[in-house]
């Protein structure tokens, strides 16, 4: 194994495998080992991840290759960066919890396997690491005892269905082209039959779509995100699901570029394959946002929000233009940052209060001010408001849609984006604002060790919001790897598109100036009087203690009334029923084994007779 890959993967896998053993000796040693491995890998990838010679090797008669290029570097840094931060957060988080060794083992394995996925330059290595990633993240989903089994099983079965459709696609490629390497597919793509091309597209779309939580394959995500421990959820939603995006990028731009795909048919000069993905993305964004609005559990809300945000990424990939792909990658980066941040803050709240149900929380702003700020900034970034990183991502996406005249998609995306405000506001309002329940009077802020990772993420979202060029240069070099699209041109100060430019530094300065002015004015001329929460009157009577002043339950009742009938249609229920019915059906087969020896003997004779009947067909 060449040096780079050995240096990258061996420490990661080694640390993960050692955790259960080292953890028995010393908790500190275990944490240090895991963290050092992840940090080392991060440093290695970000410093040397672009200029590495590929490693070709043979296994079981297949020609395989591992490689590293700017595209994988982008995603590796994303995975490892978020991995390092969430690990950091997890160390204090898991201190008091049981089975921390198990948790860190599966966490470490997930990180290592994700890097393996990104290193793989061929389908077989990809599939190998993909499956490892699936089972290790599955182990983490079922961390919370038996109650998590249903969610875990759902996650695993859906992942397996995805992985197996990927497997079918890859053996199809191997059977028809005789190669498994991504790079070789492009040249011989034209020799594939149309039906094979369609099959590869559909199978890989399902395969990667499951992991990206693309609708209608998303149903594992809410349950799995809700039930897994918060630091892992942050990594899961922020980084692992991005590998699905990476896979779709490989499918749509590496195996064959948009021009080659367009031969399968196009709609309005647009490859139908990509157009479908764009619509799936837009609908995912729209529907998931609507569902997120009516959730009562903060993690579940964020889970649906994740599904929705990844919808935007798919939309960007589906646009298949320079701006679209750039926007998709920007959104991927952005989503990793703010969704990691939001899950960490919810984790911080859970760490102190023991719940993430929003109707049980409220008024934590005084108790956990740092977490509040972190969540506020995360929410602003999610909503796509400058000067945070959410804005440039969405701006580029919208510009891409305008440039391609995709009006329908634009409308859907805009509506979804607006609806996202509803749930984003609710996170702030019901967790940190409003009335503090009495049982949380003694709640404190989380320790510094947990605040630091959150603030690092805050810094990143600010940085990429104010100075998007830094991210775009990186994205541009990643896009240069894709044979199907032109890399984006990056200016020095402003974002450019055919439809217009925007200078975010300027925007940030203006916003900062306004913000500062208001702050100074308020500080110099304090005009308001501080009002305590209970300092109000109801018809002249003082408020008795224990009255609920805050409506956190069923926050958006009018919304629910409007969309209720549609929200009742649930893909999840459909699948569950389908799975139940299938299981009942499959179970009937058991009754072939009647338990009667004579019946079995009869089967033997009948089989013999049957073979004699068909003897003519058997011999040729």
């Amino acid at each position: 194994m060449p040096e780079y890959y050995a240096k990258l993967l061996i420490p990661l896998f080694g640390a993960a495998l050692l955790t259960p053993l080292v953890g028995r000796v010393s908790r500190f040693l275990r944490d240090a080992l895991l963290f050092a491995a992840a940090a080392w890998a991060l440093a290695l990838v970000s410093l040397a991840g672009t200029s590495v010679a590929p490693w070709h090797f043979h296994l079981l008669g297949f020609d395989l290759v591992w490689r590293a290029n700017p595209l994988t570097q982008l995603f590796s840094v994303l995975v490892l960066g978020l991995g390092v931060l969430t690990l950091w957060f997890a160390f204090p988080y898991m201190r008091e919890r049981e089975r921390a060794n198990y948790f860190f083992f599966s966490f470490g394995m997930s990180i290592a396997a994700s890097i393996g996925v990104l290193v793989a330059g061929d389908f077989l290595s990809l599939f190998f690491f993909w499956e490892m990633m699936t089972w290790s993240s599955f182990l983490n989903v079922i961390y919370y005892r038996y109650e998590a089994q249903a969610a875990g099983l759902k996650y695993f079965v859906m992942s397996l269905i995805g992985a197996y459709s990927m497997l079918l696609a890859l053996v199809l490629v191997n059977a028809t082209l005789g190669t498994l390497q991504f790079g070789h597919v492009l040249n011989s793509w034209s020799s594939l039959a149309t039906s094979t091309q369609w099959a590869i597209w559909a199978l890989l779309l399902v395969g990667f779509g499951v992991k990206a939580a693309m609708m209608p394959l998303h149903t594992w995500a809410p349950d799995a995100y809700e039930i897994s421990p918060a630091p892992f959820t942050a990594f899961f939603s922020g980084a692992l699901s991005k590998l699905g995006v990476y896979g779709l990028t490989v499918l749509l731009f590496v195996l064959a570029g948009p021009e080659l795909w367009a031969r399968l048919g196009s709609l309005w000069q647009h490859p139908i394959t990509h157009y479908t993905v764009a619509w799936i993305g837009a609908i995912t964004a729209f529907v998931a946002t609507l569902i997120a609005v009516v959730q009562e559990d903060a993690k579940r809300l964020l889970a649906y929000s994740s599904v929705g945000q990844i919808g935007y990424i798919l939309l960007g990939l589906g646009i298949a233009s320079t701006l679209g792909v750039a926007g998709a990658f920007y959104q991927a980066l952005n989503h990793a940052i703010f969704k990691g941040l939001l899950f960490l803050t919810v984790g911080a709240v859970f760490y102190r209060t023991g719940t993430h149900r929003m109707d049980e929380l409220g008024g934590l702003i005084k108790k956990m001010p740092y977490s509040f700020v972190a969540m506020l900034l995360g929410v602003i970034s999610l909503a796509g408001i400058p000067p945070l990183s959410g804005f440039p991502a969405k701006w580029i996406l919208y510009e891409a849609l305008v440039e391609k005249h995709m009006v329908g998609l634009l409308v859907v995306a805009m509506i979804a984006s607006t609806a996202a405000f509803l749930y984003a506001y609710r996170l702030i309002n019901t967790i940190f604002l409003g009335q503090l329940p009495e049982r949380f009077e003694k709640v404190e802020e989380v320790p510094w060790s947990m605040r630091i990772p959150m603030f690092v993420l805050v810094l990143f979202t600010l940085w990429f919001g104010v100075y998007p060029q830094s991210a775009l240069r990186w994205i541009s070099s990643a896009m240069a790897v894709l044979p199907g699209v032109q890399p984006i041109q990056v200016g020095d100060t402003s974002l450019w598109s055919p439809a217009g430019t925007v200078n975010l530094m300027l925007t940030a300065n203006i916003i900062g100036a306004v913000f500062l002015t208001v702050l100074i004015v308020l500080a110099l001329w304090p005009r308001s009087r501080k009002v305590g929460q209970l300092d109000i009157h109801t018809s002249g009577e003082p408020v008795p203690p224990g009255v609920n002043l805050q409506y956190a339950t069923r926050f958006y009742q009018p919304f629910e009334r409007a969309f209720g009938p549609w929200l009742k249609a649930s893909a999840d229920r459909l699948y569950t029923n389908l799975a139940q019915n299938l299981e009942n059906l499959f179970d009937l087969m058991r009754y072939v084994y009647t338990g009667d020896g004579q019946t079995y003997a009869l089967y033997v004779i009948l089989f013999l007779a049957g073979m004699f009947l068909f003897a003519k067909n058997l011999v040729f």
Binding site: L124, E131, Q149, F156, L167, V604, F607, L618
Partner: protein, 487 residues
């Protein structure tokens, strides 16, 4: 250089020595089966390089083939022999302290007879001899099924016996038919003469033989015996069934179809039978309540996958089939051996009673999970590679729908295995279950199996050195004929 006949003769001899030696000096009697098998394994491994180079043909009693009985130790035979002996050694280690098997000497005798029979099956070059060894294997298997003298054990054994002897009658009938038209029983000679045989004789013969061997190789619908026998025999015997008896039968099936008959139609017919077997096995396993019965159905499912790969008729397909045979033998042995102690510690065969075993006996539950993950085909365990190869070769042979169905079966398999694993680790334990330690023998055998599973998973390449010549031996008829009969 020792005579290869010893491979078969030693276990046979020991089988009858065990009761005598036990009377004379008990400790030696305890250790004798294990020592014999270990020696046998070493012997088999020592033949590997030579067998890979050129098949070893052993002539018995001075009659040269095609007249006399001969052993043909080619790459395939030695591969099967090493696999059988490896599992047998592990089962022997495991059984040293396994509690349920009394009276010990009969148990050892029967096991050794079974090993003798299956070794004979895979090494012999004579078709009637194959039948005899198959009968030795099955008779000891019947007896082992009824070994625990309870009601259900006898019932399972009786069913097994009915179907098994019906099948062996058919097999013998098939042998009679081809002898009547060729006048020879030597497999190489048969292979050479078969093309000139009237298909009106050859086709019934091949059908009868497929049915005869299909019973032991768990082909649907001939596998009614399997769930009962697996679940009622002493648990280590479940491992023996899954890893030795069935594999021997599949070997014989492959030998018949590829070396002797080589009717492409019949070979491809196996693909359909395989996929049906796979789906039936997995579906039936889905809601089993007893762990061993579930494992038995899972074994049927895996045999289905092996049959699919065998039926492809390509070199890659055969390599995949043999690889999966090896992996399945290791994994099923691991699962059955752990299940034995799971049953012992929880005091019940029901899966529902094994809640929380992962906390009481962690090593056991971890071993079971590794086995389950391996069977599901998750990397980095050995099952991943062979399953991948099977699926890949199936698609390569243009059976895309079959491959998709096999993957459906795989998903079902994941569901029921994960349910058990989830219960083991995550359901709160029953108070009756006490924390327990594994005896050294179980620890060693399970440990070796886990190591084998992981090592093959991480370095799948080296197994190919044996598998490729073995597949070649099956596919290239004339190679086999020439190496036995001379050019």
């Amino acid at each position: 250089m020792l005579d290869p006949v010893l491979l078969i003769a030693l276990p046979l001899l020991t089988a009858f020595l065990v009761p005598l030696v036990r009377r004379a000096w008990r400790p030696l009697g305890e250790a004798l089966p294990l020592l014999t098998l270990l020696f046998d394994l070493a012997l088999a491994i020592s033949y590997v390089p030579r067998a890979l180079e050129k098949p070893i043909v052993v002539i018995i009693a001075g009659w040269r083939p095609p007249l006399g009985i001969n052993l043909t130790i080619g790459p395939l035979g030695i591969f099967m022999a090493v696999m059988i002996l490896f599992v047998a050694v592990l089962v022997a280690i495991y059984s040293i302290w396994y509690i349920r098997v009394e009276p010990k000497e009969r148990y050892c005798m029967l096991c050794l007879m079974l090993v003798t029979g299956s070794l004979g099956m895979v090494l012999t070059g004579d078709i009637f001899n194959l039948f005899v060894f198959m009968e030795i294997t099955s008779i000891s298997a019947y007896a082992l099924t009824a070994f625990i003298r309870d009601r259900d054990g006898s019932e399972a054994a009786f069913k097994y016996l009915i179907i098994g002897s019906l099948a062996s009658n058919f097999f013998l009938l098939g042998v009679v038919l081809i002898y009547s038209s060729t006048g020879t029983l030597n497999m190489a000679d048969l292979a050479a003469k078969m093309p000139s045989v009237d298909p009106r004789i050859a086709v019934p013969a091949v059908i009868l033989m497929v049915v005869g061997l299909g019973v032991e190789s768990e082909m649907f619908p001939l596998n009614g015996w399997a769930p009962d026998a697996y679940s009622m025999a002493p648990t280590p015997i479940g491992a023996v069934f899954g890893a030795i008896v069935v594999k021997g039968a599949v070997y014989a099936l492959a030998r018949m179809l590829y070396t002797i008959f080589n009717f492409q139609g019949v070979i491809h017919f196996l693909v359909i039978m395989g996929i049906v077997t796979l789906l039936m096995g997995e579906m039936a396993a889905l809601r089993q309540r007893q762990i061993k019965r579930m494992l038995a159905f899972s074994s049927i499912g895996q045999m289905g996958l092996i049959l699919v790969a065998l039926g492809l008729g390509t070199a890659g397909g055969l390599v995949a089939a043999l690889f999966h045979m090896l992996n399945h033998a290791l994994l099923k042995a691991l699962l059955f051996l752990t299940a034995g102690y799971l049953v012992y510690h929880s005091g019940s065969k029901e899966i529902a009673d094994m809640d929380g075993m992962g906390r009481r006996v962690p090593l056991l539950a971890v071993a079971f999970s590794i086995g389950a993950f391996g069977i599901m085909g998750l990397p980095p365990l050995n099952g991943f590679w062979s399953k991948f190869l099977v699926i890949s070769e199936t698609v390569k042979a243009h059976y895309v729908a079959i491959a998709a169905l096999a993957l459906v079966g795989s998903v079902i398999e994941a569901v029921y295995y994960l349910r058990v694993v989830g219960r083991l680790f995550f359901k709160p334990a029953d108070e009756r279950v006490r924390a327990a330690r594994l005896p050294v023998s179980a620890f060693v055998s399970l440990g070796l199996l886990v190591v084998a599973v992981v090592v093959i998973g991480l370095y799948p390449g080296w197994v190919m050195h044996v598998l490729q010549p073995a597949a070649h031996e099956l596919l290239d008829k004339s190679f086999y004929i020439h190496s036995v009969l001379g050019p």
